[in-house]
Every structure is written in C-alpha cells, then in structure tokens.
C-alpha cells in the first residue's frame, strides 16, 4: 500500500489536461473559423466528436482489461475495467447529448439515426448492460470474470455495429445523413485533432483517479474484514 503523500503524478496530469482543455477551447472558439453553412453552432462538433472518441477508447480499454483479467486473474485488471466503464459512460452520454444539441439546429430534429449518434447510443446501452451485470453478481471473482467475458464479446460487436449502421444509413441517404454538410478547412482539422488529444489526456487523468478510488475501496474492505476478525 502506497504511503499517503502528495500524488505528484495526479497533480501533474490534472494540470496538463486542464491546460490542454483550455487550449482546445480557445482553438474551438477563436482559432477555428466560422463554418460556411451552419455558422458558429458548428463548433459543437469538436467536443462532440472528442467525447465520442473517449467513449469508444474507454470501451476498448475495458476490452483489453477483460482479456488481461482472464489471462492473469489479478484484481488490478478488473479495477481498470470498472474504472474505464464509469468514465466511458460519462463521455458517451456527453457525446449523445452534444450530438443531439447539434442535430436540432443542423437538421431540425433532436434525434437522427446518423451513424455516430446511433453507435454512441448502442455503446451506451452496452455500458449500461455491463454495469447492470456487475451489480447482479455476488462474489468479486465471479463478477470480474463474467464482466471480463461480457466486455470482450460486447466490444467485438461494436465495429460490426458501426459498419451495419453506416451501410444502413447510406442505402437510403436522406438530407439528414448525406455527409456532415460541413466544409472542413485545415484549421478545423487541427482544432479537431487537438481536441481529441486533449480529451484523451483528460481520460487518462480521470482513469487514474478512478483507479485509485477503486484501490482505496479494496483497502477499506480489507480493513473491515480485519476488524471483523478481531
């Protein structure tokens, strides 16, 4: 168990990701140009795509952690899995809400079955199922094992869902889904890439904190057991 001192890595990461987000925001509102057709409302795009990316990345990490757990059977893999899910759920929800807020001015409706929104919805549902599964299992070993299996199988279906949804939407192109309808300039691409990077850094920071929280929970359970045995 680590001695409780100052968490230098945590502070450094927090400062870095905070700075990255601030820079990203500046780029979004100042550096990126005003979009031709949609106007300023298009600026939602950068953080919308970035949050969708983190939602997916978090799921991928859970997938890897599941494989790791089944291979090694060490609690730390399960800790990563459950921590990543909590962060992933938050960002996928963010992606869906911001996507919805963009869809309304862009296409006149709060919901559209456009590929990124739809796949985000599917991922959110899978996340929720994962959490419900964990909640319904007693015994930490079984919970970790079953969750690992589900995380693996579920993640494998996501690329397949992505292709299916895209083809589903392109066969009947409506005004809603014929491309983003955006004129992308190089400044926009840079802003997008930087936002994605800033969000990834933010994800790493939050993941680390959530992992430490889960580790502390383990310590607490251990201490409680010790006291019970007295």
């Amino acid at each position: 168990m680590k001695r409780s001192g100052q968490d230098w890595w945590g502070i450094a990461l927090a400062v870095l990701s905070g700075a990255a987000i601030v820079i990203a925001l500046t780029m979004v509102f100042v550096y990126a140009p005003r979009e031709a057709t949609m106007g300023d409302v298009q600026r939602i795009f950068y953080f919308h795509v970035s949050s969708a990316w983190v939602g997916f990345l978090a799921f991928f990490v859970t997938f890897l952690a599941g494989i790791g757990y089944l291979a090694r059977r060490e609690r730390r893999w399960d800790i990563v899995a459950v921590s990543s899910v909590e962060i992933g759920v938050t960002f996928i929800t963010m992606a869906i809400i911001t996507g919805s807020l963009w869809a309304r001015p862009a296409w006149g409706t709060y919901w559209t079955w456009e590929p990124r929104l739809t796949i985000s919805a599917v991922q959110l549902l899978i996340y929720v199922s994962y959490v419900m599964l964990r909640a319904a299992i007693e015994g930490p070993e079984r919970r970790a094992r079953f969750a690992a299996v589900y995380g693996i199988v579920a993640f494998v279906t996501v690329p397949l869902s992505w292709f299916a949804i895209r083809w589903w939407r392109t066969i009947h192109p409506d005004v809603l889904t014929s491309g983003e309808g955006m004129a992308l300039t190089s400044r926009m691409v840079q802003t997008l890439l930087f936002s994605v990077g800033a969000f990834t850094l933010l994800y790493v920071t939050l993941l680390r904190q959530r992992i430490r929280l889960e580790q502390a929970t383990d310590v607490l359970l251990y201490l409680r057991a010790r006291i019970r045995d007295l």
């Binding site: 409780s4 925001l25 949609m38 106007g39 300023d40 409302v41 600026r43 939602i44 953080f47 919308h48 949050s51 909590e86 962060i87 938050t90 960002f91 929800t93 963010m94 809400i97 911001t98 807020l101 963009w102 309304r104 001015p105 933010l202 939050l206 904190q209 959530r210 430490r212 929280l213 502390a216 929970t217 310590v219 607490l220 201490l223 409680r224 010790r226 006291i227 007295l230």
Partner: protein
C-alpha cells in the same frame, strides 16, 4: 444567430458532466480516506 443557444448548451453539458464526474470521484475518495483512517486507528488501538 439564434442557434448560439445550442452551442452554449452543448458546452455547458461538457462542463457539467465533467464536473459531476470529477466531483463524484473526489467526494468518494475523501469519504473513503476518512473511513480508512478511522478503521486503521481502531485497528491500532486494538493491537496495543
């Protein structure tokens, strides 16, 4: 442009969700650390 309200709302959502997540983790961490300290002290007492 009246659409700016959507833009503002979207970034409020970003901040709100991020803040809720960060605060939630921080609050739980604090509560846990307090309980851990209390239990550790209790254990120490009993061992003396």
């Amino acid at each position: 442009m009246e659409n700016l309200s959507y833009l503002v709302a979207a970034y409020i959502v970003f901040w709100a969700l991020t803040f809720v997540l960060v605060f939630s983790i921080w609050a739980r961490q604090r509560r846990l650390e307090q309980e851990i300290a209390a239990l550790a002290a209790q254990l120490k007492e009993n061992e003396e």
